[in-house]
């Protein structure tokens, strides 16, 4: 083809009048090796600009301000986790808030505290009642979260404890006309006793077996209380206990008092959660997560005892809440023992995320909103709650508050997937091989070698071969010179040599072994009559090897 285009190579040595020199030879047009280089560097993978850094606002810090920390008096505990550092680039002193959760908590609690001021007048009754219910249920959820998250005991008996304490205190209050402030402590005592009884099997049973055992406990309590004479079997519950809400207040005042009392109860539960989960007991139990109990035990952590302690503390707290429940509503209904109550309570924990206080509170908020505010919807609202719970369980690893971690894990997975698809270039070494090669320069050497060969393959053409056959030595065209240099710099192994079978008459091509003492190998039967022919034969073999590589 290129002969037709008439591209010629002029031999500069022709003027010296060499015997076999010719003035012009057909050759191929120049091909830049940069094309191959650029082609190899180019990637078909689309690169997305995905943010991967976590951004923190950098507060200015100067001198003493940099190390100033707000602490809970009289402890050394800090209110906010701050980090003081010097920016490595600008050398500016800056402070970073590492954990912003206390701020969110303060804002959220503040919103709950001032929420009654902003309720619309026509919904005031519904919303404030729902708010009071939310406070009580949030406290229950927090205590349940201690049992399920911190202690890792999958107990479904929470509402049985609350209900029993509520019923017993209501009965005592009705019979002996007890004042309202005595009910929560009595309830705590009842809860402690009840919790002590049901904690007995928890020492030997694992999480799920315990769930199955306590599944029937609510039903047991319901059947017992409904059919017993003392607990008012006819009117759906036991009412008539004294309450802390004064009769002579206005309705709004009563609602507000109930709201803030229940809000206070939730704050108490939060403090309890903080003190159990964040201190010694919580630490011990975090050492012994599920399936790693044996390790914890071997290192001397008595996690069973810690579990029972958490269980007992939570049961007493649940009993306290039961007593408060009675003194808030003036009694208690049998519906607290319904299986649906347990399921709704579980939904509160699951939607928010097991093992976090914020999960319990926000989950309770969502469920109570559907249950109390939309209570004209009938069974549909339970179906909605159940659907939310189902979707959360199916798609989220740990509730709403686990979304962040789950999203990060997913993004990291995607990132590494993309990284592996981008690793298409190179190609001379498998990824596994590349990671196990100690000398990483080998990888780049091979890649360079491959690019060189890719370029040289484009140079092989009939004109070049013809030129080589014509003049073995002396000046060559640029393309042929490149090929020859490449061939000459190959390693000794499998390099070709010419063996004289009979001097001036027969030559054949052999391949060197590359090892001392190992004889060369005969590669073909053909016998060449002159050294030049044999030389060209070696060239042809090398070209063939190059094209096959």
């Amino acid at each position: 083809m290129s002969i037709d285009r008439g591209i010629k190579w002029r031999n500069p040595l022709f003027v010296w009048g060499g015997k076999r020199d010719v003035e012009e030879l057909a050759t191929i047009p120049f091909r830049s090796h940069q094309e191959i280089w650029g082609g190899t560097r180019r990637s078909a993978t689309k690169l997305n600009a995905v943010g991967r850094l976590r951004y923190y606002y950098k507060w200015p810090g100067h001198g003493e301000a940099m190390w100033n920390r707000l602490r809970y008096w009289p402890t050394r505990r800090r209110v906010l986790r701050l980090r003081g550092e010097y920016n490595p680039k600008t050398l500016r002193a800056e402070k970073t808030i590492v954990d912003k959760r206390p701020i969110w908590w303060m804002l959220g609690l503040l919103a709950l505290a001032i929420a009654p001021l902003f309720t619309p007048a026509d919904l005031q009754n519904t919303l404030l009642t729902a708010g009071a219910t939310f406070g009580i249920y949030a406290a229950i959820s927090l205590c349940w979260m201690l049992i399920m998250g911190t202690a890792g005991v999958f107990s479904l008996a929470t509402y049985a404890v609350v209900g029993t304490a509520a019923f017993v205190t209501a009965l005592l209050a009705v019979k002996f006309a007890l004042p309202w402030w005595l009910l929560p402590p009595i309830g705590a005592l009842v809860g402690l006793v009840f919790g002590g009884i049901i904690a007995l099997p928890a020492t030997r049973l694992d999480g799920f077996y315990y769930a199955l055992l306590t599944l029937g406990l609510n039903e047991l309590c319901r059947v017992y209380f409904v059919t017993s004479k003392e607990f008012g079997s006819a009117n759906g519950g036991l009412y008539g206990a004294t309450t802390y809400i004064p009769e002579d207040w206005s309705q709004l005042g009563q609602l507000l008092l109930a709201y803030y009392a229940c809000f206070g109860l939730m704050l108490l539960a939060l403090v309890l959660y903080r003190f159990v989960n964040g201190r010694r007991l919580g630490r011990i139990l975090r050492m012994a997560p599920e399936k790693r109990e044996a390790f914890a035990e071997a290192t001397g952590v008595n996690f069973r005892q810690a579990r029972v302690w958490v269980f007992l503390i939570s049961s007493a707290a649940l009993g306290f809440i039961g007593g408060f429940y009675t003194s808030n509503f003036g009694g208690v209904a049998f519906s607290i023992f319904n299986f649906d109550t347990v399921l709704l309570g579980l939904a509160m924990l699951v939607i928010g995320g097991v093992g976090r206080a914020e999960g319990a509170v926000v989950g309770t908020l969502i469920v109570v909103f559907f249950d109390q505010v939309l209570n004209t919807w009938g069974p549909a609202r339970f179906m909605i709650i159940g659907l939310i719970m189902l979707l959360v369980v199916l798609y989220l690893r740990n509730g709403l508050f686990g979304i962040k971690a789950q999203f990060r894990a997913w993004r990291d997975k995607k990132k590494s997937e993309r990284r592996s698809t981008r690793a298409e270039k190179g190609g001379e070494m498998l990824p596994e091989e590349a990671t196990e090669t100690e000398d990483k320069s080998v990888i780049y050497q091979r890649r360079h070698d491959k690019m060189t060969r890719d370029h040289l393959k484009t140079l092989v053409s009939p004109e070049i071969i013809e030129e080589h056959r014509h003049s073995l030595n002396g000046q060559h065209s640029e393309a042929l010179e490149r090929l020859l240099i490449y061939f000459r710099t190959r390693p000794q192994v499998e390099k070709y040599a010419i063996m004289a079978v009979e001097r001036f008459e027969g030559y054949r091509i052999v391949a060197l072994s590359g090892h001392r003492g190992v004889a060369p190998r005969v590669v073909e039967d053909r016998i060449y009559s002159t050294p030049d022919e044999a030389c060209h034969g070696v060239f042809m073999r090398r070209v063939q090897d190059l094209l096959e590589s």
Binding site: F154, L200, P201, R204, L205, D206, G207, F208, Y209, A211, L212, L213, L215, G216, L217, E219, L220, V223, Y224, T227, S228, F339, D340, L343, L344, L346, A347, V350, G378, P379, A380, F382, M383, I385, G386, L387, M389, L390, V393, L394, R397, N398
Partner: protein
């Protein structure tokens, strides 16, 4: 106190509870799923049989078959919604448990919404005869319940022993990981398992409806009993479930006669706690043989 009354009641209760417990046990040991939507399947099957009796035929065997089929359908639905999407996800055991509880909540509320709170009753499946022997009277529903449940349980267990699918299910029960390695599909087998166990729940629903009525929340108590027996007998063991069913049936019959029906759950709870304190993996379960969740 009539010894024959106690014995016959024990056998009757043991048969029905055993049917439920074996279903729960098989599901747990083969799939690793604690199916707490059993109450929903139970009520679903009851309503299915009721619809069949209302609209198609009131013949006893046909209603029974309709109940079993409806239960199997319920089981397959649970499998498709609650097992297939999460069975290979992290933390499956606890999530599966919660998912089935959520399905239970949705399903029973749906039944309440669709059929209303009034309970329904099924026609008498086994007729209205009674068999008098010296010293005792067997009514039709008792004899029919015992015979039917024993017969169908025997068929199911025989099928699990002798058929190809049964072999797959038993392999999954022994070692789910190894079973999946030798080519037993977890998803396909799970549909068989849930169909079979759902069918057993449907059978129990129709049989119990001869004594109680069908209501949206009527499945709760049978589920609690079934779970308790499965737990007490050792999850995954059919023999253990049978023994536990007899023990708890005897307990229920004795309690009902001596101190009154309202204490049944309390004595049962105490019995289960005692058994579990002695053997934490149930009557048949050995500690090291338990399924790793």
């Amino acid at each position: 106190m009539d010894i024959w009354f106690i014995v016959s009641n024990t056998i009757l209760l043991a048969c029905i509870y055993g049917t439920l417990a074996i279903g729960i046990s098989i599901t747990w040991s083969s799939l690793g799923l604690l199916n707490l939507a059993y109450g929903f399947i139970f009520a679903f099957a009851g309503y299915g049989a009721w619809l069949f009796a209302q609209h198609v035929s009131t013949s006893g065997p046909a209603v029974l078959a309709a109940g079993i089929l409806a239960g199997a359908l319920g089981g397959v639905i649970i499998c498709a919604v609650g097992f297939i999407p999460i069975h290979d996800k992290p933390n499956f055991t606890i999530r599966g448990l919660i998912a089935t509880l959520a399905i239970n909540l949705i399903g029973t509320q749906f039944l309440l919404w669709w059929f209303g709170p009034r309970s329904k009753s099924l026609p008498e499946i086994f007729g209205n005869w009674s068999l008098s022997l010296p010293g005792m009277v067997f009514t039709a529903d008792k004899v029919g319940n015992v015979v039917t449940s024993v017969l169908i349980l025997a068929i199911v267990l025989r099928w699990m022993q002798s058929s190809r699918r049964g072999l797959e299910i038993r392999a999954m029960m022994m070692n789910p990981h190894a079973a999946s390695i030798v080519g037993i599909g977890v998803r396909r087998t799970s549909f068989y398992v849930m169909g079979i166990t759902g069918g057993l729940a449907g059978l129990a629903a129709v049989l119990l409806s001869q004594t109680y009525y069908i209501s949206p929340f009527g499945g709760l108590m049978p589920m609690i009993k079934g779970v308790s027996i499965a737990l007490c007998g050792g999850l995954g063991s059919v023999r253990g479930a049978v023994i536990a069913a007899i023990v708890l049936g005897l307990n229920e019959a004795l309690t009902g006669i001596s101190i009154g029906g309202r204490y049944v759950l309390i004595t049962q709870f105490v019995v289960i706690i005692v058994i579990l304190l002695l053997r934490p993996r149930g009557i048949a379960g050995l500690l090291d043989k338990a399924r790793e969740a």
